[in-house]
Symmetry: C2
Subunit: 241 residues, 2 copies
DNA sequence: CCTATTTGTGTATTTTTAACACAAAGGTAA
DNA sequence: TTACCTTTGTGTTAAAAATACACAAATAGG
């Protein structure tokens, strides 16, 4: 009788709910050759063993959601991100076949240099980048989550200068142009685009020339100036491509 | 021994986490007299007993997050919303003094006619509207949550026609103008504003005149045409004030 | 019927966006 | 070393959109 009460207490009073809390991280990377890509892991365990999935995992009791994201990403892929923001919380009761799992999805960007570095570790058989237009079949409701993430990235680069988080610290202007063109899926007029971007005054043009990558006239390298950006932002500047 | 195992199983295997899941609803209402207002409840129990707070509560195992929001709103305030979208998930480990509570905040709008109707029920001693610029002291981290919600509403009415969800089905044009002016906190040129809004073709001008509210020339009533809006949206129309 | 209040309406100016083409720099291969 | 290929850099003009601005007409109330 006492035992039953104890179990009842733990199960129904202290824990009235049966919902587990997880985070997922949709991480975008970019290179001129590979285009915009998303980081996925191959699931090592059931359900969906062997399927590709968005990296993520359960939140520990003491850590913040952002800490959970960075820990899981480190464990599963070894990747360090340069930009992170919350995307959306997916909470349908039956989105996981085992038990109810609530997932707070985050949306991350990695710099071009991190793009190649990938380390497969314990939790995942494999981790790899997939071009965002050629994604494999995905576990759970991850396909839908990715669509939300892609829409968010697409919408966001228009009115916030987060595209720079996908490039190296120093980059040729054409990389930025190519990134926007790929993501927005439309051609971009080089002159008009440059005119507009430079008009914000948040890009420093360096004296260094970009490396020669085969053929073509080498261009100057540029660098995003976050300090200037923040200052201008305070003064009411409005970034919009 | 068997008993310990059972408890261990329930507590540590089936339930490795100690996080409770709640939803909160930031509900906006509007009337020309009262301006943009937010629906709050007075807490009946500790912690923060007697403080004003955002309505919300724990998610039941079987219900979706949206269902939880609507149920809690019904229980606590009796208000029915006309627009609901997810706002943000607040997950800091210590945001509630009792135990870790994750809150998925939603953002809702009610039509002007619902604005007055308020019913205080069991869970809250009281429920009331507060002008969004004159908010009382709030429980938990609710102040911060409200700020996020206000920013979201402000940002959103610019590029999505959700302002109509705050008005009656039929409204005089000046109501819309006043709503935008209040929310964006800047004067609006009546002629330019009307020119732009009407250019989208999503407002039907009715033959009825608005009631006389004291003095002034009565104007026509207008009505948001959602069907037309959805059709135009598909054809690539871009709403932006 | 006079006054106060609110609605309705058009044009001119400025600003922003969009369209558009050719010369210069370097790499590579003949 | 030269000819060719690829890529970068640059300015003007036309069209579209945003902004600034003022007065007459309709009603309510005194």
């Amino acid at each position: 009788m006492f035992v039953s009460f104890k179990i009842y207490y733990l199960y129904h009073v202290k824990r009235t709910q049966n919902i587990e809390v997880a985070v997922d991280a949709i991480v975008f990377g970019y290179s001129k050759e590979e285009g915009v890509s998303i980081l996925l892991i191959k699931r090592k365990y059931d359900p969906f063993k062997g399927s590709w999935a968005i990296p993520g995992g359960f939140v520990l009791d003491h850590e913040s959601l952002e800490e959970a994201v960075e820990r899981e990403l480190q464990e599963e892929t070894g990747v360090k991100i340069s930009y992170l923001e919350q995307l959306y919380t997916f909470g349908k009761p039956d989105r996981d076949p085992r038990t109810r799992i609530l997932s707070i999805a985050y949306f991350g960007l990695v710099k071009s240099n991190q793009f190649e570095k990938l380390k497969a570790t314990t939790d995942a058989e494999d981790a790899a980048w997939f071009n965002f237009k050629r994604l494999p079949k995905l576990a759970f409701d991850h396909k839908m989550i990715l669509n939300v993430a892609i829409e968010r990235l697409r919408g966001k680069i228009i009115y916030q200068p987060i595209g720079f988080e996908l490039l190296d610290k120093k980059f040729p202007f054409s990389d930025l142009e190519h990134l926007y063109s790929t993501l927005l899926d439309r051609p971009i007029d080089r002159r008009n685009f440059k005119k507009k971007v430079m008009s914000f005054g948040i890009l420093d043009e360096l004296d260094e020339k970009a490396k020669s990558n085969g053929a073509g006239r080498p261009g100057n390298l540029f660098q995003f100036n976050k300090t200037t950006y923040n200052r201008l932002l305070k003064n009411g500047m409005h970034f919009e491509i």
